[in-house]
Each structure stands twice: as C-alpha cells, then as structure tokens.
C-alpha cells in the first residue's frame, strides 16, 4: 500500500540550540522521505528517527534487559524512586518544557536532585553569569546589526551548522546585507573549518584562554601588554583584535565548550563576560553561549522559574537548594552519594567520565529514551518514549531564549508514549 506523502512546513528542528524553525519535512506513512532547509545533522535526525528505537519497556531480570509491560515497568520505577533516599533525576535537554515541568514535580515528590546537561556543558557559563551578569540579545539582533562576529572556543560549522547562514555572517539583515558587511573573527586552539573562513584567526595555546582573555581586556582598556606574547599569540595581534572590537558598531561574541571545559572553567567565562561588559563603555557589544542541545536552554528556564535555580537543584529537604560542585550530577556520582537515578532524554553514559558512569551503573537506574543508548545498556528499567518535535509536540527554547512550539508530524512509532505521559503516570503511582 503506497502511503500518501504529506509535507509539513515551519517545522522546528530539535537537534541543537539553533532551533531552526523553517524546516520542511515530507513524510510518507511513518517514514521521512525528504528534509528541506535542515543542516546535515538535522537531516540525519529526521531521516533516521526510526533507527534503534526501543520497542517496549524493559526491566533487567537476571542480569539481562527483558521485555515488560508498561504497568510493570512503572511499578518497578516507582518502587525504586520511593525507596531511594537521594535519587538523581538527570538529563532533560532533549525533551519538551512540558515534560521538564513534570520532572521538577517528580523530583520534588521523591526528594531528589534535578540536574541537566548544563552541568557538563555551560554550567560554568551560568556560574560566571551569577557573578557578572550577561549582555546579550536575540539572534535577530545579530543578523540585523552585527558587523563583527567572534566565535571563541566553538566550531559552528560542525556543531551548529546553520548558525552562520541563519543568524550571523552569511545571513541577510536589515542593516547588514551580506558577508562583506561583516567581519568574522575566530579564536580556537585548532584551525577548525570555521577558522578557515574567518577574516581574522587567533590560534590560542591549549589551556591558555584565560591568559588570552586577560590580555585582551588589558588591551581593550587601553593599557599596554607587557609580554611579547600571551597564550601563544603575539601582543601586537592581541592589540589588533582589541582595536577591531572597539571599533565595530555592534559586536557579538559566541563561545562554546572551548572556554567552559578547559582549566579555568567558570573563571574563563567570568573573563569573557567581563570583557564584553567592558566593551560596552566603548561600543555596543554582546555575548551568547552556543547551547548544544535543542532544549537545554528550556530546562534552565523551567528549572529557574519553578525552583529559582537553572540546574543542580537539590530538593531532598523539601525546598530548593543549589550549590554547584556539591549538588551537580558528576560530583554526586563521583562521591557515590545518590542511591538511585532516573535519566530522561539524555545519554550520560556516552559522555560522562567513566568513573561517574560506573556509579550510575551500580545503582538502580531508570531511563526514558526514544533510542537505545549507552545509558540504556546499564539501566534497570527502560521506558521507550516519543521524540519531541517529530512524534510529539512541545515547547522548546532556542539558545537565545526565544520560545518555539515544536510539532508532531508522525504518530509515535510502536505507539510509544511521550515523556510527559510517562512521567505523569510515574508521579501518580508514587503519590499513591
């Protein structure tokens, strides 16, 4: 039987923080046959959404994951969470705000810690923002006004492929019509593909972004750099960059994990935020973190409005407590403090340091995910779920805080439930 093709337009892509919302997806039955306007990663997600799906709920019996009914899995999961004294509920960045809201309610009900992928991504950025604040904007402001775009410690052509085309140097803005109206600066330890198309590239020595940012602040302030070179960059070149920044009309600094993950971590961000703040006394300058997952910004927002804090929220005492380093997932796992975990919409075992993964594998672990993943391999209970933005709709937040409603374009494969449903059912059972 041939299925009629249906084309959905204005679909919101649910891959990275760009949340491009002009995607056109053609569907035949349950198969995606064509994707227009999506980048390579987006296309891969839409076209392959049916791959490696978990068909039924699973419960580990005698060391192996075996098929189970939804009700059995719910009972098992509820029992694990109820028994736990300090459960960790982690992930959340690859699902909708509606699901995350239930996640907060669930964490509060079981007295656990709710943390999300910010913890290994832009957590240091949040820490920097607590101290300095942030001078930022929505992406359209960059498109319309920016004549200087700086990418520092990130490689958008690989991780946010449509970023430059939709929002920055290759886009068409009201006051900047084309590429030649903008200057592109890249700062990185590698000469990445993004660096190759830059007008000005600074190769910084590994682990020395802090020093380079400090020197740049000195130059922006108008003082002399005493050294011949800093972080592998000649002083003259640093001063040149400072001049470029001061003399622009509207500059924006996008930064990524090159700054958050290297030694210095939140202190690197502290300097980057301060540099941009300093620049505002000379010109218009803004900064924006390149958020990786399509709704990590959403988790931060939901978590903040519901609990006051954007991640690493400890609700074990019945009220929100926040202390990164103490209430963050990796630290909790390294110290072996949590006695159960629920992972939703994330794959920490594929990205956490192995020592943290080991503890995750040792404790009772519930996972909610559309696909088989490294985390499902070590789980005790697994719930298959619907993909947000493809099989179920939901609110998502772009990296600049703009909110979009992702669409449902196919019925969920195998009739799997949405995260919202699964979490609500779990909560209901726990409340008894």
């Amino acid at each position: 039987m041939r299925c009629l093709a249906e084309t959905f337009s204005n679909v919101v892509c649910t891959v990275c923080g760009c949340c491009c919302d002009n995607i056109e997806v053609t569907v035949e039955g349950r198969k995606v046959v064509k994707v227009k306007n999506g980048c390579a990663i987006s296309m891969s997600k839409f076209m392959n959404y049916g791959e490696e799906r978990i068909p039924t709920p699973l419960i580990r019996r005698k060391g192996e994951l075996a098929e189970a009914s939804y009700e059995e899995a719910l009972r098992e999961a509820a029992s694990i969470l109820k028994k736990a004294k300090y459960p960790l509920l982690y992930g959340w960045s690859l699902t909708s705000c509606e699901a995350i809201e239930v996640g907060v309610e669930l964490t509060e009900a079981v007295g656990g810690v709710m943390d999300n992928t910010t913890t290994t991504c832009h957590g240091p950025t949040v820490l920097g923002e607590h101290d300095i604040g942030v001078s930022t904007c929505t992406l359209g402001e960059v498109r319309h006004r920016a004549d200087l775009v700086v990418y520092w410690g990130c490689n958008p052509l690989h991780a946010h492929p449509n970023h430059m085309k939709r929002y920055t140097v290759l886009s068409k803005g009201r006051f900047r019509a084309s590429r030649k109206d903008r200057k592109l600066v890249v700062v990185d330890v590698r000469r990445t593909d993004t660096a190759k198309v830059a007008d000005f590239f600074l190769q910084v020595s590994t682990n020395e972004d802090y020093e380079l940012l400090s020197a740049l602040r000195v130059a922006v302030r108008g003082d002399e750099i005493e050294q011949d070179s800093v972080a592998g960059v000649p002083a003259e070149k640093i001063e040149e960059l400072a001049e470029i920044m001061i003399n622009c009309e509207f500059g924006i600094l996008f930064f990524g994990l090159g700054l958050t993950m290297t030694p210095g971590k939140s202190r690197n961000i502290d300097l980057a935020l301060s540099l941009v703040r300093d620049l505002n006394s000379k010109t218009k300058f803004l900064i924006m973190p390149m958020r990786g997952h399509f709704n990590v910004t959403g988790v931060n927002h939901v978590s903040a409005w519901e609990t006051g804090y954007p991640y690493a929220v400890d609700l074990s005492r019945g009220y929100p407590r926040y202390n990164p380093g103490d209430t963050t997932a990796i630290d909790i796992l390294l110290r072996g403090e949590c006695d159960a975990a629920l992972v939703a919409a994330s794959d920490p075992v594929a990205s956490f340091p192995a020592k943290a993964c080991r503890h995750l594998a040792e404790i009772p672990l519930i996972t909610i995910d559309p696909h088989y993943s490294a985390t499902t391999l070590v789980s005790d209970v697994v719930f298959p779920s619907a993909l947000t933005g493809i099989e179920t709709c939901g609110t998502v937040y772009r990296m600049d805080g703009v909110v979009l409603e992702s669409k449902k374009i196919v019925e969920p494969l195998g009739g799997v439930r949405s995260d919202v449903e699964i979490l609500k059912d779990m909560l209901k059972l726990i409340r008894g």
Binding site: I41, K45, S205, L257, P263, P324, A354, A361
Partner: protein, 140 residues
C-alpha cells in the same frame, strides 16, 4: 588484557588531548549509538599530518590513548581541523569518557579538554564496541 581503568605509561608519545563535537559525531549519533557507524565516527583520535608522520602512525591504524584516568584503543585519523603540534582530538563519546579527568574543581564541570595524554600505535589491539566498552567499566 589490562582493564581500561589502569592508566599507565606505555612509553607512548606525550600529547595534549582535546575532546569535542564533530560533524560526523553529530550525524552518527542521530543514526543510533549502537551502530557500527557510531563506532567508526566516534572511536577516533585525530592527529595533524605532521604528527602522524613524526609518530609513525598511519590513518586507519588503531592507537592506544592513555591518561592518568584511563586507557582506550581507538582508530587514528587525519584531522581536517588543523591541530597544533603534539595535540590530538577525540570526538565526545564513551571512548573519551574513559580517558578524561572527572575532577570538577568544585564547579560541577569535569575536565574534558586540554589533558595530558600518551598515544602509541596499537595495530594488534581491538577497538571495543559500545556494548563491550560499557561492560568493561560498568560491569554489565
């Protein structure tokens, strides 16, 4: 065979290890993490051309990457992103999880970039699949 938990000096070449996203890693993770494709795109250590020559490692050959925190076998590849001298790059994934520094320094963020590492040719050693890798460190 020694377990991946023992980080030890093999007399390998000292390098700085970077980890991060790559386009292939991004595309393959959407195709499924249990696939062969994922291993191919993610269990990789990228070198710049000069280092490959100097270290006498050929692209496609298996190499062992070791840090104070763990040791893992992956496939060597030539970097398209022009690395600095004696610096290698591994895309995020469970293979990098073995070798990165879990220490968060009170920030919650482990140390995932700019690590001191050793690499050595390991032509006869096998790259573990995701399942095998997870079984080794997680015991299941």
């Amino acid at each position: 065979m020694k377990t991946v938990w023992e980080g030890y000096s093999m007399g390998g070449i000292k390098v700085k290890l970077l980890t991060g996203r790559s386009l292939d890693q991004g595309k393959s993770k959407e195709r499924g993490k249990l696939s062969e494709d994922y291993v191919k795109c993610v269990a990789v250590c990228e070198f710049n051309k000069e280092d490959l020559e100097a270290f006498k490692i050929s692209p496609g050959q298996n190499v062992r990457v070791s840090t104070d925190f763990g040791s893992v076998v992956v496939r060597a590849a030539a970097s398209t992103q022009q690395l600095p001298k004696a610096t290698v790059f591994m895309p995020y994934g469970p293979w990098t999880g073995i070798v990165v520094n879990p220490e968060t320094h009170g920030t919650g963020m482990p140390s995932l970039k700019g690590l001191e590492a050793e690499v050595s040719a390991a032509p006869s050693e096998k790259i573990l699949s995701l399942k095998e890798l997870v079984k080794q460190f997680a015991g299941r």
